[in-house]
């Protein structure tokens, strides 16, 4: 280890630094560029959202760009009606409530049936007595005729919503179908349906 001290190669002293200060102009330009850059960046950073991608610049642009078909609009309106009129018992998740005797709507064979005739009648006139939903019999609750106070269009909207929410995927319901069902059952008044009565009703295709 000692040989290197013997043949020391020539070299200069370790370097030192001068004390020249930062040019004032550079500091000013740096501050300016940083300020302007922050503004420009902020104007198009999508609010740091995970769902805004170039060339779009904010979430409003993304949502305004979404094409809404009449069906989607109908579902949107139905969702608002559901929240007001139905979610208290059937829950916002459509899972139903044991305490209130409200069967689930999500995945329910009554909701997802091929045609909407039975579910229209339930919404219009209400339901009483035991009903089997998803293999479980519900008998404690009575459903009020929530649809009675709604227009044909509103009933169609809300049923379209429950048939297409929470992973449900069934067809749309038109105000005409609701109107037809109302006319057919006009003699019934406001008497609630029972499950057995409903099973007599034709489902009606799409």
């Amino acid at each position: 280890m000692s040989q290197s001290t013997d043949n020391m190669l020539p070299e200069n002293a370790e370097p030192t630094t001068g004390s020249v200060t930062m040019p004032l102009g550079l500091a000013i330009v740096f501050a300016l560029v940083t300020y302007v850059g922050c503004n420009i960046t902020d104007s198009a950073d999508g609010g740091f959202s995970a769902l805004v991608y170039a060339p779009y610049t904010d979430e409003a642009e993304i949502s305004a760009t979404q094409a809404k078909t009449p069906r989607e609009l109908q579902i949107e309106r139905g969702a608002a009606l559901y929240k007001q009129n139905c979610s208290n018992c059937h829950q916002p998740s459509g899972g139903g409530s044991q305490g209130q005797g409200a069967p689930p709507l999500a995945g329910s064979e009554w909701v997802l049936a091929e045609g909407p005739e039975r579910i229209i009648r339930i919404v219009n006139n209400g339901l009483t007595g035991p009903i089997e939903v998803l293999g479980q019999t519900w008998s404690s609750g009575t459903m009020t005729p929530v649809g009675a106070a709604m227009s044909d269009k509103q009933v169609a909207d809300v049923i379209t919503y429950i048939r297409n929410a929470w992973g449900n995927a069934a067809g749309v319901v038109t105000p005409e179908q609701v109107k037809a069902a109302r006319e057919e059952t006009a003699g019934r008044g406001t008497k609630a349906w029972t499950a057995d009565e409903l099973l007599q009703v034709e489902l009606g295709g799409e």
């Binding site: 070299e11 020249v20 198009a44």
Partner: protein, 476 residues
């Protein structure tokens, strides 16, 4: 520690203290540089003979490309950066390197890690994470090896109390901090299931950018800031400008390099573009600082080889830096093209490689205790590497821009355009020149080590003895 140990040591004593680990690191660095450029050449062959080795599952183009890059980044870059860090830290703190045996063990482990990574690539274990696709088991070894070297470096750094630290010291510490940070992030997050989808890609970009721009950038700039004033024997122009460059690169480096069309939320793209624009300031600081230190004497007229290499490194840093600043404006055309390979090589080989070669040229003779046996060889290495770099970078940039034009035309894209292929063919000659320069460097370093450190097996002595013996035999 005794007071004696903490007092300023002579350069010779410091050199003696770090001889084993630093020589080990620098010598392996040159060997890895040869490996990297060799595999790079081997990979490029595929563009000229695409059917090559179609029956060999271990040597696909992808494997060769991964090996070339990892050998360059962790093999050459890692060994050289750590070797330079250990030596320069000890020199700048004026104390002997602490625990050199531990550092040597770390150096050995580091090389085991890189070797494991290279072997893993050939076995198909690359992780697929862009530029940091080194297998995680190799990363584990790298972390361990790096830690064993970081302990002596840290102890050396904290060995004395000073009110002033030289500019290069901060840069070395910056490099020492970013390396484990990135490696641990790669190890913990890129193999982790909870990091999903494009977050992996973003982390890989950050890691690659931090390893090149920040880690290699810090060590490369430490070399530039150290050797320029030392060899010219004048103070570095401005400490404050150096602070701007240092903090600028540390803060901005990791953000760089996200291209505008990337499938990541737009804020990541915007942030990266902002960082690229701000990068102009550290770039300016480095340019002005060195420019004013050197004065009107250009690096090129210096007869000192170290200074010549450092000068090329500085120019490459500036050119690559201008590319970085312009990235937000040009990446629409240059991303996905060979332009990116050219600028990466410009930074890693042109800037860091040349800086490290300059440092090796200065450090190794002091560690082995004898001047290079052949100074002329270094002039040739310098010319060969410089010419190779030009021959590689210029056609690749030109070809890449044209490839981008074709890609952006929106027509059918099946084959590389002929300009890009032609650029790659010319660049192949450049790669060849760089490869021979690396071979020359490795030969010189190994020769210096063997000739001066292995008394029993000194090939010069053996040759002389053999010659003498033959002459004796002849006269009989």
């Amino acid at each position: 520690m005794s007071n004696e140990e903490n007092s300023v040591q002579t350069p010779a004593a410091i050199d003696a203290s770090c001889r084993l680990p630093v020589l080990l690191l620098l010598a392996s660095a040159t060997a890895w540089l040869v490996t990297a450029l060799g595999f790079g050449l081997f990979a490029s062959l595929n563009f000229h003979a695409p059917g090559l080795l179609a029956d060999c599952p271990n040597l696909t183009y992808g494997h060769r490309a991964s090996v070339a890059w990892t050998a360059m980044l962790f093999g050459f870059g890692g060994n050289a950066a750590l070797g330079i860090t250990l030596w320069m830290l000890a020199r700048l703190r004026g104390v002997n390197l602490r625990w050199p045996a531990l550092a040597a063990l770390g150096a050995a482990l580091w090389n085991v890690g890189v070797t494991a990574g290279v072997w893993g690539f050939l076995m198909g274990d690359g992780t697929g994470h862009g530029a940091v696709d080194i297998p995680l088991y190799a990363v584990r070894v790298l972390i361990l090896g790096g830690a064993l070297m970081a302990i002596p470096a840290g102890l050396t750094y904290f060995a004395r109390r000073d009110s002033q630290l030289y500019v290069s010291t901060w840069h070395l510490i910056g490099g020492l901090v970013v390396l484990p940070w990135v490696l641990v992030t790669i190890y913990l997050l890129l193999g982790n299931e909870s990091v999903r989808g494009v977050a992996q890609a973003t982390i890989a970009w950050w890691a690659a950018s931090s390893l090149t721009q920040v880690w290699l950038g810090m060590v490369g700039l430490a070399v530039v800031y150290y050797f320029t004033p030392k060899i010219l024997d004048c103070p570095l122009y401005s400490r404050q400008l150096a602070v701007l460059g240092f903090l600028g690169i540390l803060v901005l480096g990791g953000f760089l390099g996200v291209h505008a069309g990337a499938p990541v939320p737009v804020w990541i793209v915007r942030l990266s573009a902002f960082a690229a624009v701000l990068f102009a300031f550290p770039l300016f600081a480095v340019w002005w600082n060195v420019r004013r230190t050197v004065g009107i004497r250009p690096f090129a007229t210096s007869t000192d080889n170290t200074l010549a290499f450092v000068g090329v490194a500085w120019v490459c840093f500036l050119v690559a830096g201008v590319g970085t600043v312009l990235h937000p404006w040009i990446n629409g055309q240059t991303h996905f093209t060979i332009f990116e390979s050219a600028t990466r090589q410009l930074f890693v080989f042109g800037f860091f490689g040349m800086a490290a070669t300059g440092a090796i040229h200065y450090i190794v003779p002091r560690l082995v205790g004898a001047e290079w046996c052949c100074q002329k060889a270094f002039r040739r290495i310098y010319l060969l590497a410089g010419a190779g770099l030009l021959l590689y970078v210029v056609p690749m940039i030109y070809g890449g821009i044209d490839q981008g034009r074709v890609l952006n035309a929106g027509d059918e894209y099946i084959n590389l355009p002929s300009t890009a292929l032609m650029g790659m063919r010319i660049a192949f000659l450049g790669e060849l020149a760089m490869f021979f320069a690396a071979l020359g460097l490795m030969g010189n370093v190994f020769w210096a080590v063997i000739a001066n450190c292995c008394e029993g097996c000194n090939p010069v002595e053996i040759f002389r003895m053999m010659k003498a013996a033959r002459e004796e035999g002849g006269t009989e």
